[in-house]
């Protein structure tokens, strides 16, 4: 059921209910989501909640309109994006993604601390090779050597990584289905066990971590190529 955004009798904007983003839109906490329908709902709600359309209301209503529409925008921004949506659901489930996040990586880089980052096993070999090449590229640049062959090779590797990055989204979607099935089952009265849920979220965390790892790697490659 959707959170009550307006007064049932007078239609005025109400204070935002302390609900999650799914409930805000009246959606079940499932990951396969009709983004087109979400967009439509976003526009419908915007037309009623946006501060511009409540600018002649009382000051309390104006404040609520501000809070409601910021929540609407935050919720829409999060749910329309497949990765943000998954991360948000995991956050609701109390699962932390912290170690390999961008923040952690940047923090580690800035402080010079060794990043607590585990290279995904299936990438070990490629990462090792890529790092060697990036090192060589930096050396060459220092001595002013022509390195077009090396740049081409690194570019090729980058493309491989980007393809993998894309493929991981497909992999993530297979876990969405598992998750949504568990939610459907629970709503049908046969509650999923904590282990069952944890198993699915664990797989999603794994995919997201690998994805983050590759994304950071691609960023490093881009930075090295631009130097």
């Amino acid at each position: 059921m959707r959170a009550a955004h307006f007064c049932g009798s007078c239609g005025k904007v109400q204070p935002p209910a302390p609900v999650d983003y799914f409930t805000f839109f009246g959606l079940p906490p499932k990951l396969n989501l009709d983004v087109a329908a979400l967009e439509k709902d976003f526009y419908v709600l915007s037309r009623r909640l946006h501060p511009d359309l409540n600018a002649t209301a009382g000051s309390k209503e104006q404040q609520w309109s501000l809070e409601q529409s910021s929540m609407l925008n935050d919720a829409y921004r999060t749910l329309r994006d497949p990765i943000k949506r998954t991360e948000y659901l995991l956050h609701l489930e109390g699962v932390a993604l912290e170690e390999q996040s961008k923040t952690a990586t940047e923090q580690a880089r800035a402080t010079g601390a060794i990043k607590k980052q585990i290279v995904p096993p299936d990438l070990l070999e490629e990462v090792f090779e890529l790092n060697m090449e990036l090192e060589e590229l930096r050396m060459n640049r220092k001595t002013g050597e022509d390195d077009s062959a090396l740049v081409a090779e690194i570019g090729k590797q980058k493309l491989v990584l980007e393809t993998k990055h894309e493929a991981l989204l497909d992999e993530l979607e297979t876990h969405w289905k598992d998750w949504d099935d568990l939610i459907d089952r629970s709503q049908a009265g046969r509650a999923a066990s904590a282990e069952e849920l944890a198993q699915v979220t664990g797989k999603m965390v794994d995919v997201l971590n690998r994805r983050n790892y590759i994304r950071n790697l691609v960023r490093d490659v881009n930075a090295a190529l631009e130097e």
């Binding site: 959170a3 007064c7 037309r47 511009d52 309390k60 910021s70 925008n73 921004r77 402080t111």
Partner: protein
């Protein structure tokens, strides 16, 4: 599920009164405008000089009274040390930000400026902050609108460059307050322009707005559908515009003068050099404008010592020269398209805004970037103000023309907080639809710690030192607990103006934490309060006072016209009774004119106007017959016609 009941029974919507006009203001680097919705179409309100554009120039006259607009423009050349232009470049900035501007613009900073203090600019021997100078421009526009409506104007929508940061926006809002205006909304300039365009062309699709003004550049990409104007990406440069082109041309002229003519202003006295530089500036701006329609333009400037500087610039030379400046718009355009996830082919329309888009080379660049002919149907100088008027109507409850129209804008820069190691942790990403919010949790490092310091930043860079510092604040009054136990929830909210609000709550005690946000660049509430030009409550009174002054001026004009009339042959044709009547009314007007009663003065003016109607007619006849006899109108002593409508006014003959 919680259910909320309506608890607003005593809080009915107060209807906007018909007299409550909300105006739209474009506070530009070079020119400013005020507009409003007349029925279903936005129109620009002209100033008392009859012009739509108010040059954003402020000067102090000999009595230290502020002069704004065209009147101040002369002062730029005659008394440059008492005038200032392009003040928008300094809004919301610190002294360390503006070192580059100081090399190119004749801004004279106060000598006693402390680090971290809001800039103060010297005009004569007085100093003003940038928001105060902007407020003088806003007040001038407010007056034009008040004259137009015949009543006070206290509410406005003001436009800002989309790429303005929090401090620049706050400074603009402060300027509004100082001018006695309640700023209902700050609207991004390219978005406002799209509203003005969207009003007549209600269609769906992706639109790019390329806005190159006097001092700022914005690119915004919008998705239009069924009246919703949704910005999907924006980018820009708040220090790029026509000013930069002028400065290039000025630099070249100065080099020429130094080289060819052997004149070096650095040896001359400051005053004369400033005058000459302003004369050069005026000449190059004229040449720049001419080059948009002509193949070449001439510079011809008189220099101190009687020498002349003459030079011809061809369109080709001009275009080569400005290429590096206009090329700086390419990066932001590409980034905006990337952020919007669009290729140039996917953009349906391109709209040009800002005076600098009149330059053919700029148009060619836009065409190349977006691979289509840009729209130029609306006047690029006025379209932003017109859009602001549309937004003002939407905020005021809407009209038939704005029905279904809604603007969904974005924040141009990512909001971040500084975390360990001087790194920025981004909590609201750029191009997020506003209002937007983010919640962060903080705890303590030491037992009994009562304060936690937070540093808020805006920008895209990874390190805090490379981002713009917005504010530092302390969460105070955290109840004494062991380290790591308090859980302070801090909510960051960017409102629909793009301005940040922060609130905090300690969750374990439920105590509202006290936050004093010290903006890194900006005026405190108290400072703004002390600067207010026309206090909000005095708006009505101020209007009455001005009305009174204007009526007295009108009375004086009529009385002096009557004196002249008495000396004309027409006077002799009046009957004794008529003359007696006029004398009575003249006496009555002179008497009430000494009092403070506007209505009485008005009544006496109208009576005298009515009573002298026949005299005016007779004078007109005399004038016409004199003209027929071969004398010109001017010689036929008609006197200086008053500017207000009056039967004796010259305008009646034309």
């Amino acid at each position: 599920m919680k259910k909320y009941f309506c608890i607003l029974s005593s809080n009915f919507c107060i209807l906007t009164m018909a007299s409550d006009h909300i105006v739209g203001i474009d506070l530009g680097t070079t020119n400013s405008l005020v507009a409003f919705m007349q029925g279903e179409a936005p129109v620009v309100i002209s100033g008392d000089d009859g012009l739509n554009l108010l040059p954003s120039v402020v000067a102090l006259d000999g009595n230290n009274q502020p002069v704004i607009g065209n009147a101040a423009r002369n002062s730029l050349i005659e008394t440059p040390e008492r005038a200032v232009y392009s003040i928008k470049r300094l809004m919301g900035r610190g002294v360390e930000d503006i070192q580059d501007e100081l090399k190119l613009f004749p801004f004279r900073l106060a000598q006693d400026l402390q680090p971290g203090e809001v800039l103060r600019i010297k005009l004569g021997d007085k100093t003003f902050t940038p928001p105060e100078i902007s407020a003088l421009i806003l007040r001038q526009l407010k007056r034009s609108a008040e004259r137009f409506f015949g009543g006070p104007v206290t509410k406005a929508v003001i436009t800002v460059p989309a790429y303005f940061n929090d401090a620049q926006r706050q400074a603009t809002k402060d300027a509004g307050r100082i001018a006695g205006l309640e700023v209902l909304r700050l609207v991004n300039e390219p978005t406002a322009a799209s509203l003005a365009y969207g009003l007549d062309q209600k269609q769906n699709g992706m639109v790019a707005v390329y806005d190159l003004g006097g001092g700022t550049f914005d690119i915004s990409i919008l998705k239009l559908h069924d009246g919703i104007f949704e910005v999907t990406a924006t980018n820009g440069d708040t220090h790029l515009g026509g000013d930069d082109i002028d400065n290039l041309l000025i630099t070249i002229a100065l080099d020429d003068i130094r080289g060819d003519l052997g004149l070096d202003f650095r040896n001359n006295d400051l005053r004369r050099s400033a005058e000459t530089v302003q004369a050069i500036r005026k000449a190059v701006i004229e040449a720049k404008i001419a080059l948009s329609s002509q193949p070449s333009a001439k510079l011809d400037i008189e220099l101190p010592g009687g020498k002349r500087y003459q030079r011809e610039i061809t369109r080709e030379q001009f275009e080569q020269l400005i290429q590096p400046v206009i090329d700086r718009t390419v990066g932001p355009c590409k980034q905006a398209m990337k952020d919007a996830g669009l290729k140039p082919e996917q953009i349906d329309e391109v709209v040009l805004v800002g005076g600098s888009t009149r330059i053919p080379k700029v148009r060619a660049l836009v065409k190349e970037l977006f691979r289509r002919e840009p729209h130029t149907d609306l006047n690029p100088d006025e379209v932003v103000a017109l859009g602001a008027a549309v937004q003002a109507t939407i905020l005021g409850g809407g009209s038939q023309a704005t029905e279904n129209m809604l603007l969904l804008d974005v924040t141009p820069l990512s909001l971040g907080i500084e975390v360990a190691g001087g790194v920025t942790d981004k909590i609201i990403l750029r191009n997020s639809t506003i209002p937007a919010s983010a919640t962060q949790f903080y705890t303590t490092q030491v037992d009994g710690q009562a304060n936690v310091a937070i540093h808020v930043l805006q920008g895209e860079r990874e390190l805090a030192k490379d981002c713009r510092s917005l504010a530092r604040f302390d969460l105070k009054g955290i109840p004494p607990m062991a380290a790591g136990i308090p859980r302070v929830e801090v909510k960051f909210l960017i409102d629909a103006n793009g301005i940040l609000h922060v609130s905090a709550r300690e969750q374990r005690s439920g105590k509202e934490a006290d936050i004093q946000v010290q903006p890194s660049y900006g005026l405190t509430d108290e400072q703004v309060e002390s600067m207010i030009l026309d206090s909000f409550d005095n708006a009505e009174e101020d209007f009455r006072r001005r009305q009174l002054v204007e009526a007295r001026n009108e009375a004086a004009t009529i009385l002096s016209a009557l004196e002249k009339g008495k000396k004309s042959p027409a006077w002799g044709q009046l009957t004794t009774d008529e003359k007696k009547q006029i004398a009575k009314m003249e006496k009555a007007l002179a008497a009430v004119n000494a009092e403070d009663d506007y209505a009485a003065i008005r009544k006496a003016i109208d009576a005298l106007n009515q009573g002298t109607m026949r005299l005016a007619e007779l004078m007109m006849d005399t004038a016409v017959s004199t003209a027929l006899k071969g004398k010109s109108m001017d010689e036929a002593d008609l006197g200086e016609g008053p500017t207000a409508p009056h039967p004796m006014a010259k305008a009646e003959f034309e």
